[in-house]
Amino acid sequence: MYRQDTIMELREQLDKKETTKEELFEKANKLAHTFQEEYNSFVTIIDKPKFKDRDSLLSGIPYALKDNFSTSGILTTASSNILKDYVPVYDSTVYKKLKNAGAVLVGKTVLDELAMGGTGTTGHTGIVRNPWDKSRMIGGSSAGSAASVALGIVPYAIGSDTGDSVRKPAAFGGLVGFKPTYGRISRYGLFAFASSLDHVAYFTRNVKDSAIITDVLKGYDPQDMVTLKDDGKKYLDSIDNDIQGKKLFYIKEICDREYYKDSNDKELLEVLDKFHELLDKCRSLGFEVEEVSVDKKLLEAVYPTYMCISCAEATSNNANLTGIQFGPRGEGVTTQEIMFDARTKGFSELIKRRFILGSYILQKENQEKLFLNACRVRRLIVDKITELFKEYDGLILPASGGIAPKFDASSEKLSDRYLLLENHLAIGNFGGFPSITLPYGMVNDMPIGVNITGRVKDDELVLNMANKIESVTGFKNIIAKVGDIDV
């Protein structure tokens, strides 16, 4: 039953010589090809891997990597036409560490172009479909990584998370999605989207597997000056630590059922009901769970704050995409015309719209009102949550107000649901807080996720708490039902 096996189970099979790394790769490769046409998880599927035996839990185990991590000699497109032929000449630190651990790369996964987007529909090689229901999105931007784990092609996949790009698709795909503290893992070789918000993050099918990956990837890297000194801990060793008396809070203004009592949105109400049922289970596990009130105006400002900061930083970060040093060369007489043409042809409409928004925000006349005020709101929000973390060990909230949307669904972008329930995960990026999503129920035969966020540098406790909560959800190690396919 390879598709459902966890990292630990595969490790055991390898150690007992019940299987080999070659056999595991063959299974993953076969599944990757089998599902590709229907779900489109990959930009590149590796057919000839390089194997290395290493003393690591990940040695010999297949994984997938988002196509915005630099991989020397392997096409890396960021799912954008402007990088469609780009073959890096250096390794990202994440890829290098995984290679050194003997992990086996199965493929580079599709993302929303340049990691900007939350739908999995804007990559240059087409849309990614949700394995639980092909008429729905898996979410993004780490869409292909999420789909590859939900399909059971690989037991884990690496993504990146700037606003919720791993933790939201995890909810839509019935997966665990973990984003450690900002600086815990090096971003060297990860294509920058919004540098003050960008995190390395990953999908697994249980919390313990997330701890294993964190143990391999964490640590200081002189190539990324914001990385933290390693705390010297093995998070796997302490994953079962006692959580008795740990205190969780949820924010009334985001998930109080009373706020939505007149809503016709049955999915939303069911999500909230199940969330409050889960809180009761947390209490029976020994957690203290309390409701906390936060200024609604501050919470409503989370999404526009995110848009301002991320679009402004992205506009600047992507200025190097000119088609001169790399990428398709544009047409024109002057260098300027060549760059103009390359960028016109190389970026999709959505990316251009985001860049224009970023440019608008950075114009001298708008900087104070938009960009700097967004940075000020960021501080107020982070200060408020940090203050609450003096009393509480974690923040628990539904990761989304519903299930994965249909491809043709539209959302009311000024509604409470959109501004509060759909976008609060960006708080984790504003403050660099460790944050994890895990599946906790089904609504209309689709998975829903709960998110737990903790204090900066307290990754160990966040994993402990999530691991404990996972034990009562009844949704550990799930994969999408896609027929009788197994290898």
């Binding site: 032929d85 073959v87 000449v89 250096y90 900002y182 600086g183 003050s196 918000l197 002189p222 000056m225 914001v226 990385t227 933290l228 000194k229 105006k297 409503e300 400002a301 526009p304 704050t305 848009m307 301002c308 040093q325 790399f326 990428g327 060369r329 024109g332 007489v333 002057t334 260098t335 300027q336 760059m339 103009f340 016109t344 409409e349 251009k352 719209r353 860049f355 224009i356 928004l357 440019s359 608008y360 114009q363 009102k369 938009l370 700097l372 005020n373 967004a374 000020r376 709101v377 960021r378 501080r379 107020l380 982070v382 000024l414 501004l419 990026n429 504003f430 660099g432 807080f433 900066v456």
Partner: protein
């Protein structure tokens, strides 16, 4: 509604062009976005707050030692450039010979 000409100006500054209908979509999108942006202005005494540009105070940050490390060869650096001449990326002539 935001002036379409203004949006075109921003696109030119960013060195790309969009189709006419794409500007119309963007104009409509700006309407919603600007209403969302107003929510930032709703926060009281916001101007008194110090802008935050980094998630938290990181006391670990140090500049790395100024030591020679691994570096790319010229061939590697140029491997993705479509046009090259004399170990450099080739671009159109800027200075005219006649001048």
């Amino acid at each position: 509604m935001i002036d379409k000409e203004l949006l075109k100006k921003y696109a030119r500054l960013l060195m790309f062009e969009m189709k006419e209908e794409e500007y119309t979509t963007l104009q409509e999108e700006f309407d919603v976005i600007l209403k969302q942006m107003d929510l930032i202005g709703n926060i009281q005494n916001i101007s008194e707050v110090e802008p935050m540009t980094f998630p938290y105070k990181n006391t670990d940050v140090v500049l790395r030692e100024d030591e020679v490390g691994d570096y790319l060869t010229v061939d590697e650096v140029l491997s993705n450039a479509k046009y090259q001449v004399n170990d450099q990326v080739k671009v159109p002539r800027v200075v005219e010979e006649d001048i």
